[in-house]
Symmetry: D2
Subunit: 343 residues, 4 copies
């Protein structure tokens, strides 16, 4: 059994990790930390886990965590980078669900995240954990930076077109909509039900932290500079991300449907929908799937890609476990077979 630790077990991604790992046949959750709830039973804080998780929150402590085989950080930005080095030294694998190791250029990171990076030397070692792009690198990684939720949906959506050079990388648009759980489990006015229910708005149109991450990823695929306009929106639902992506066709694009089908043929967690379909975020709720459809309205030069994920699963905890499976040479879908709850 793999001994796993979860740092930051009381946020939504932490609880989601607990939900998934509780049923993972090869993992034992040995440590779950929470500064605020240390000493309390997990299922007293989260009655949804009664009968499934028999654990008590403890304070985060490097020595205890070092006894794990793998430690997940489901923490606010800036926490994982404080402990990662020590854990890696003790041969504990680290999977970070926060943004600390996603951006290779630490100056750029500091600019967007508003703090200094304490271990920039680890950035070269960190593997960006989007298995559909980086599978082999993840297998041998000790430190994996899980992609953000928006970046996962956007990169998987654009990937086949950009790999083949079929769209103009200088004019990409990503209009993306997220459920409110993406804002985390924090007492803040802006995500009260009275403030977000029955309403829709864009936010951070001037620039969202996930922008440099997406650009870095797309540039890696394209092998050239990309210009992306990314506008995130808050949707009155709890889970789900829907990316609507727009690009100008630049090359020969006979059969976009076949292109997507072939690119993702072997992928367990990307499903290309039939031509003319529109994915619905409800169809991936609670599952690790990304569902994608590709359209070319009126046969014109603009291609529209629709890409949906559950922000807490493929956009966070599920993808983290997918990476863990790769790092420990387990079947990639181990523990991730749960089926979408519909309706």
């Amino acid at each position: 059994m793999i001994r796993a630790g979860i740092v930051g077990g009381t946020g939504y991604t932490g609880v989601e990790l607990l939900r998934i790992l509780a049923l993972h046949p090869d993992v034992e959750v040995a440590v779950v930390t929470s500064r605020a709830d240390a000493g309390r039973r997990v299922d007293a804080v989260y009655p949804s886990l009664r009968g499934a998780v028999d654990a008590v929150f403890c304070k985060p402590d490097a020595a205890t965590l070092a006894q794990c085989d793998v430690v997940f950080f489901a923490t606010p930005n800036g926490t994982a980078m404080l402990m990662a080095e020590e854990l890696l030294r003790q041969e504990v694998k680290v999977i970070d669900l926060s943004a600390d190791f996603r951006i290779r250029d630490h100056h750029l990171w500091s600019q967007w995240y508003g703090m200094e990076h304490v271990c920039p030397e680890l950035l070269a070692e960190a593997v960006y954990g989007l298995p559909e792009i980086n599978r082999e690198a993840v297998r041998s990684a000790s430190l994996v930076a899980c992609p953000g939720c928006y970046p996962t949906a956007v990169q998987l959506g654009f990937l086949p077109l950009i790999e083949k050079g079929l769209i103009d990388a200088g004019h990409l648009i990503a209009d993306v909509k997220s459920g409110v759980s993406g804002a985390g489990r924090k007492a803040q006015l802006s995500v009260l039900m009275s403030e977000t229910g029955e309403s829709f708005k864009a936010y951070a149109a001037a620039g969202h932290r996930h922008l440099p991450e997406i650009v870095q990823g797309l540039q890696g695929i394209a092998g050239q500079a990309v210009d992306l306009t990314f506008v995130p929106h808050l949707t009155p639902m709890i889970r789900g991300i829907h990316a609507t992506l727009y690009g100008r066709l630049a090359g020969d694009a006979d059969d976009l449907q076949a292109l997507y089908a072939q690119r993702y043929a072997g992928e367990r967690f990307v499903q290309v929908l039939p031509a003319a379909a529109h994915p619905d975020t409800r169809d991936v709720k609670g599952s690790n799937q990304c569902q994608i459809a590709v359209h070319r309205p009126q046969g014109g030069q603009t291609v529209v890609v629709l890409s949906v994920i559950d922000n807490l699963v493929k956009g966070a905890a599920g993808q983290a476990v997918q990476n863990m499976n790769l790092m420990f040479a387990l079947p990639e879908e181990q523990g991730l077979q749960s089926i979408t709850l519909y309706p």
Copy 2:
């Protein structure tokens, strides 16, 4: 492997059966019927099941169904009674999720359901599938009538008090709230999102079809006549039932908390919350649990019981599979371990 058939696979309870059975280690879904969608792939109709269910809807046909070991009816009322006799004759076990076999008195049934019962002689043979009351009878049953969603939440909530004769059976009140999926997957104006979202109302205050079923169940427990006022309400959410139950304490009631804890100590799918807790429907969403809390406000003579279930799981498909496990001598929780999706 148990070969299972599902008649009426396109309603919400049918899809939920598919979701649960797809991961059940001892069951193979051999037949899924749908008059409307016959010939279509299940996952074309329900993209939520892509990658998990590899089946095609067929028309309901007794000969095909007779090759199954067990057939689930997830059909509108009045359908199961047309086919059950034939299937039972061929030694197929039948689990009916509709109301056809729930009421032992067929005159009463006809009065509430507005049609004649075509096989009243089967009513004596049918076992009411609430395992927490009828476990042994279910084990040896060939025909199980799964309880309605409201009746499950109400009976489990009242059970310990009525068994012990602690409340006045002549003055029971059940104020129950349901999510809109309880109305089924039918094109009807009253459950449009524009009609039910952001609003709350009671309905059927004059008498709901689940009333005689609940009364029959409670009378069986009480061994005497009961007088119940039952008011159902429509809540602006998709899944979940919350029953708020009121009774007048009649006997010695020292420790209601202990009473509930003891009564349900061995039950895998009933969880008694700590004193002073309030169950939340979200904490059982997608799981087969019933969570219950018992209160005695201001130490008075009125006891208040709060009981929550997921109407499509413990209130329908999950309970059906729980019954199937009992009928086939499998572990009662087989295939039902999935954990609540939170948030």
Copy 3:
């Protein structure tokens, strides 16, 4: 023009007062206070009021407020009692939307609200502002305590039965459901959309602060002690209260429908629905109406009353303006004619 002041203009009841008073033909909002937003334009904080409210928040200050004809307190409990005496001395009428003057017994008040009352001598002078019961007293009042949202829905629902002594006052049950705006505009985890959306729960079953207020009101009507079990619930919607009330018929009750129709015949803001109807909270959203239906299931001895209001209008700001109209001898419905937004 009546010069009005609003203390606490940034909570939901404060904004609702602004919305209503902005269109009131006889009122000018002269002062709107907010400690947190002092100096900011009202419509910069609330874009919903752009073009309708041309005001700037200021700090609360007795001297400024004393220049008003009437001051509304839309503040947390414990604030109005600090300023009311001074304003009344300067002949400013005071309408308090908080709980400070609702309970006549200040010991009882302290017990439920957890603080000492600073001006208990004013309690005798305060008029409980439920016009349907206290209309004449309100007309001549200087200090009005507006009822809570739950108490408004419950008292209007029980009123006709209790006035006539038709139900057993010793066994009343009020099962009441509220939208989340009732929790106010505060950064708190429990009313995040991710925590309250798509879910339903009871809370405060052991005793909610509105209990003594309702009991006081019902006892005033009944002229005897009443025993009420009151269980509030949180519903996944923003606005609306639905009270489901249960009583045991004690007297002669030939025609409950006529009883209600007659009792409320002259009331502008109580609408008795036809027999067999079920009020829906959506039908009073944004309006000052209370809609009521009365049922006697199966002709038995239990009467069920369904009573709905918009918690922020008839349950708060609308009722406050209704009281103001009475205090200033204006038509009772002045400024309150806006029609429910449907759907």
Copy 4:
């Protein structure tokens, strides 16, 4: 008093017309038709209108309607064109909220709406009722075609940029999100709460009927061909449209904020938000406002415009009344002063 008739009073736009006109000081609603509900009181069908509307639905009949000064068609597409000619002949003004008279080219109309146009000769006479573009023409019109909801939000958003030739008309993108009330009040599976709640999806990516209407409008402004990619989405809320518009800056664009502020300075129903703001659909709910913000992310060449309306008010019934006010030389905001309901 203007005598108004409403044909199709039972859809959401019809009810919204009733809500607005009931408080309009210069209008008497003389006739409200509904085939399905003829003979029933309006407030029996819509309890939200109790006390506000004292009318009975009648069958649509040209002779009765001809006694009105103005007739609103809140009907499915294809109905208004059957009656308009007769009413116009009798000097009744006609305001059509459906699509029958929006497209000047009747071949194009037939292609998108799947039926023949019965009075193409009226198309030249019909005035497209977007007052912010066509105010003078509306004043003297007898037949007004009210714009669709999506076209209103999109055209008002793009208008200042296109008028000035500041963006490349060959590469426009409109990513637009609508609440479910836009689908109308029809019993259809796809807008059940269980199907649309808590989920988000695009639809009609291959081409939506509002596309040719928007293109016609934008071309009229631009004076040249435009290429628009328009993707509508269904959002889990009842009311509201949010358009996110993308264009490539083509000309000199020093101060986009000033451009918008100046263009809409005199408009009563378009509000340009301060720089860096993001409009929220909740802030226009129930009001006739369009709120707009303009962004230029990272100072690049892509301009992002955010434009929100209430689809049933500025997107339908409110705009229809705004047009009526112009046609009858009333103040443009008459009857349209109601303020957004928040929260």
